[in-house]
């Protein structure tokens, strides 16, 4: 097996080692190319991870549905009629649309995005107050710093408990004060705080100045009856959100006598669209990085080919002697192609090591992803493998140029005395 021929390898390293400085300069192109490729890919990955982190805790295949006012007259109703969802809608939707995995109805005190005065020991905060089901946590995850989130028994027994945001805490409490177990007052009703969440880096639809109370408690305390504000819905991962979205709207339009063509009566927001937009963005970015990196690599490999061409020229006599001694064209060719491969692979590995070091440094400096989306910038093993295989493949192709030049050297010309 020629691959394990010790002499062949010692020949190759001998030749390359002959002019260390030139060999190094040759490799520089590929080293830089590899650094650029890995840095580009790693940064894009870091960015992609950063976005992932922002969306972590939000079910990506989800949507929100709320009621608005009609924009078309229908079945004797005038346009501009306000639609009010009812809590039973949740069950109807779940029963009729099996693709719905989680459906969390919610009701808000005051108008949408409005604030309500929350009192505690003479201090007030203008916070959003939501009546919620525990399932909401499966769609938009809350990062709890203390206590717990709402649970089933809170709902079943309509307990007067609440979970508050950190911002609300700061408005109502002194620093370091114990919040869990204390009470606050909303519209004259007292609630015991059972949990507190802090702003996380990801998308936060509810804000941090908010108070969450059990849906059933909300109904009793504020007399909201069977009204429902809006719904957060998680859809089965294999189903398109838009498909479920239109089913939901059809059902609800039917129920509330809304014209099927009325686009305005029911509002909705498809979360998966943002995700797909961002993942499309990062995919394009990744593709672009790969493309740029690859061409830089090609340039680097071509530089190697050029130097090998010069080397072949310089070694004309040596190659002539070897052929006079019985080196077949195959042996000569193999040697030069292998030189190209060894140079490229070695340079590639050096570049790879350097760039991994740089990426680790970047990761240590900015990798927390607190300020901008940049988390764990590193290239994946498949990315590395593909780049490396491509690089070596290129070096074989490009190495053939000097190799064929070497074959054109006729021993007689090489050995002709000057």
């Amino acid at each position: 097996m020629w691959l394990f021929d010790r002499d062949m390898w010692s020949e190759i390293f001998h030749t390359l080692g002959q002019n260390m400085f030139r060999t190094f300069l040759t490799m520089l192109g590929v080293i830089f190319a590899m650094i650029i490729l890995v840095l580009l890919l790693g940064s894009t990955n870091g960015m992609s991870n950063g976005f992932d982190k922002i969306f972590a805790g939000t079910a990506s295949n989800s949507l929100f549905v709320w009621a608005q006012a009609t924009s078309e007259p229908y079945k004797g109703f005038e346009r501009g009629r306000r639609i009010q969802f009812k809590i039973e809608d949740a069950d109807i939707l779940k029963k009729n649309i099996p693709e719905i995995e989680v459906l969390a109805p919610r009701i808000e005190l005051g108008s949408h995005r409005g604030v309500v005065s929350v009192y505690r020991k003479g201090r007030t905060s203008g916070s959003a107050v939501y009546g919620d089901f525990p399932q909401i946590d499966e769609i938009t995850k809350k990062k709890l710093v203390e206590g717990r989130f709402l649970n089933k028994s809170d709902i079943d027994e309509a307990k007067k408990v609440c979970v508050i945001g950190e911002e609300t805490y700061e408005l109502l409490f002194d620093k370091g004060e114990q919040a869990i177990g204390t009470e606050l007052r909303i519209n004259g009703v007292f609630f015991t705080i059972v949990g507190m969440y802090k702003p996380n880096d990801n998308i936060n639809i509810d804000g941090e100045n908010a108070v969450f109370i059990p849906f059933t408690t909300f109904q009793k305390a504020f007399g909201s009856g069977n009204r429902m504000g809006w719904m957060a819905i998680a859809v089965d991962a294999n189903t398109k959100v838009s498909f479920v979205e239109s089913q939901i709207k059809t059902l609800l339009k039917n129920k509330y006598d809304i014209a099927p063509t009325d686009e305005r009566a029911i509002g909705s927001f498809d979360f998966s669209e943002i995700f797909s937009n961002i993942s499309a963005f990062t995919t394009v970015l990744k593709g672009f990085s790969f493309f740029v990196g690859l061409f830089t690599l090609l340039a680097g490999v071509i530089a190697i080919s050029n130097i090998l061409l010069i080397t072949v020229k310089e070694r004309t006599k040596e190659i002539g002697v070897r052929r006079a001694m019985g080196a077949t064209p195959k042996i000569v060719k193999r040697q030069i192609v292998l030189e190209a491969i060894v140079l490229t692979a070695f340079a590639g590995l050096i570049g790879f090591a350097i760039s991994i070091g740089i990426l680790s440094g970047l990761n240590a400096a900015f990798g927390s992803g607190e300020d901008f989306p940049f988390v764990n910038p590193m290239i994946t093993i498949p990315q590395f493998t593909i780049s490396f295989v491509l690089m070596v493949g290129l070096s074989v192709l490009i190495g053939l140029i000097p190799a064929n030049r070497a074959l054109k050297i006729r021993p007689i010309e090489a050995l002709r005395e000057e």
Partner: protein, 233 residues
Amino acid sequence: MIEIKDLHKSYRMGSNSLHVLKGINFSVEDGELVAIMGSSGSGKSTLLNILGMLDGADSGEYNLDGVPIKDLNETKAAQYRNKFLGFIFQSFNLINYKTAAENVALPLYYQKVGRKERQDKSIAYLEKVGLKNWAHHLPSELSGGQKQRVAIARALAAEPKVLLADEPTGALDSKTSYEVMDLIQKINDEGNTILVVTHEPDIAEMCKRIVHLKDGVIVEDKKVEQVRAEQYV
């Protein structure tokens, strides 16, 4: 050993064609030491190149040890060169980054001889040319005569049928030249067939037969009384 019949060779120089060998008939027996002489342009180098399978003839026959040498592709030519021929060049043509021993081992490498055997053989042949102690020196650390002796050891290492020496003393002073010729004579004494291309009459006199080339034809082919180089060393 070598049989050549009606060998022709011309080179194309632009629109003109230069007829270099105009029908050479020539044969060499086993164990001969032949000097090929002639002024430059006489065709002696061309003849040597064809004999060395470094170049092909236009027409004519060439048999080496009973094997017809014709229509060779590069691979076949390389194999035949390796098997049949040992080359000694005017400018030694040692590979400068390899030690003396590694240079000698080179043809053995192309014969796919094992590493250990190669090393042993190359040391043995270096010993034969009196350079055993220089085995691990690079060519740059050797004198011209020593380099040529390494080259001779290299040519011998493959145990070829014929040694082809192209002006082996051309780059050496006369004392060193005689040392090299002494070595060549001794190798010939052992039964090796050797062809020496030279334009120096004193070197030619040290062979057993002199072939004179002029304008592409053999003008003289005579056996001579060999002058031993030993006496001048």
